[in-house]
Symmetry: D2
Subunit: 182 residues, 4 copies
């Protein structure tokens, strides 16, 4: 099992927003996938989280609604020599035909966090976990509300990183990381 | 007296780095200039701090070694209808002919923090204050060391701001603000 | 006019939560009170903001619903030799008999931000300003929603400070500072 | 392999300072230990990092100079049912009799970072890694200087976390995480 922490520049990025390396470390440690588990990456973006999940031994289903981003996820999976199914579509509909998950990462919800939470509440077994990152307050609020309503135990961390490059501190945008457990 | 807090976009900026609004608020409140006091702005950059100091009633001497930046400081002073002397040159030499200061802001030291501290130690009277911002660790370290060696009482705050724009958190780079008092 | 920035330990504190020095600097620069203006301090707590406002020349009305905290505000005003009216009661009712404000600081809303915003929308003239601090997400959300609904232009900053004491960084809790302007 | 992320309260703590959960996640992902590798935990404190390293499959040598802390490390290893050798002593001397490491975590250097770096430069093979956390600027500076002088490639991140508990943001102290690679 390879720990999360691939450097951002090792991914092909185009202009798709990416979960930054340090945030991936925290989010994926909180998600704690185990070898062989089914993991969804909802709103996969560049696929950086999908790649890390695959390297951690998960069976990855990357859901992405934008065609170009979905292609980018495929290219990044190939670039790291890992497999994963890329599903072009929007959650929660796109999740219906997939195998039941044990781990779910939500990098983007397209404003449909409540429906996604309701869907996951039905399909995620005991011990299942969801981790969502939120760069806006309203995403965090709706995620918190949605998962608490569905009976998940939640936990939230605000992660603010600055990279020190030649002594100069360069901030990454703060990100809320929400972990929800059944 | 106008409190510090001019919005960044109200200044003419060119490509000169600027002390951001929120940091100016903290740095200038720590500096606490009083009406009529002589205030230096060393490494004036865009002149944003010079403008705020002038609006706070200080007699401002802006020291800047780059010709274009010095011009920019002049234009920004004019833009806000305040006066201040712009000194083209490098501290500490450029400070020698200026009247004795009560307040000194250091936005850039050109790597000569020790000499600047030694100069100020001689010229700053009791109750005089220096505030320096540092975006690198080594600038902070050298400023701390220099002012402590010269017998100043120091205080340091790490200020990390994020602006929330349409719900989205956008980080400013973290800045150390050092305050030194005689 | 004295700039905000009184050290925390100069206030009498009891166990009442206090707006910390660095946050007071930012919040009060955003509020930008002018000499002679009527300023409310809603949820005054220790009275640290009331004291700063009074030192900045505002005519201060400190509203506090807890009897002991109201007493503490009085003692802190006396300690700094400034005057201000301490109103024992809860906003918005307690505001009704007070003169119309130009500046309002909200350090605590008792969960009644919407009613407070509605009240202020009626009583605050053009150019009037409100600054609220929020240490919880839900306070921020309700403040943002309330003031935007009432037609205020809003601005939010997340302020995270760490004090560096003998080289050691000690974090203050992050605070959202909301500024709303008519 | 279990990912890092044990909750702080699951450790026995006494009054020994501990590397907090979120920081452990980042530091250990940067360290990236592999199963069977020899890992030192220098300045082991509570042993929280030692426990995580052992759960990640490393062969752990925990170095701690305080007798009570060394005992605490032993108890925490037992509590999680993992093995590791606890060495009572101070780095670098205490490292001399240990097998050559591939991974080194430094949570505390006792002010001897330069000697530790020099020792590790001799004993750490190619691809070896060191991760050090620093809560003071001077520790960071001396670690950076020491490892760069010894020819390591370094990388530094400033990690600032706040835990959101019932909506309330509670800051952890900011920590610099330095990663050095041969």
């Amino acid at each position: 099992m390879r720990l999360p922490g691939i450097k951002d520049e090792e991914f092909e990025r185009a202009r798709v927003p990416m979960t930054k390396r340090e945030v991936r470390m925290v989010a994926l440690c909180m998600l704690a996938p185990e070898r062989g588990q089914v993991a969804y990456d909802i709103g996969a973006g560049t696929g950086s989280v999908s790649v890390e999940l695959a390297l951690m031994g998960a069976r990855v289903y990357a859901v992405e609604k934008r065609r170009e981003a979905a292609e980018l996820v495929r290219r990044n999976l190939r670039r790291f020599g890992v497999s994963g199914e890329v599903v072009l579509g929007e959650a929660p509909e796109a999740l219906e035909s997939l195998p039941e998950p044990q781990r779910v990462f939500i990098g983007g919800s397209g404003g449909r966090m409540e429906e996604i939470a309701a869907h996951l509440a039905e399909r995620l077994g005991d011990g299942g976990r969801v981790v969502a990152t939120a760069v806006t307050l309203s995403t965090l609020e709706s995620a918190l509300r949605a998962f608490e309503r569905e009976g998940f135990a939640t936990e939230v961390v605000l992660a603010s990183f600055a990279r020190v490059e030649r002594g100069m501190m360069r901030a990454l945008n703060p990100v809320f990381v929400l972990s929800a457990e059944r």
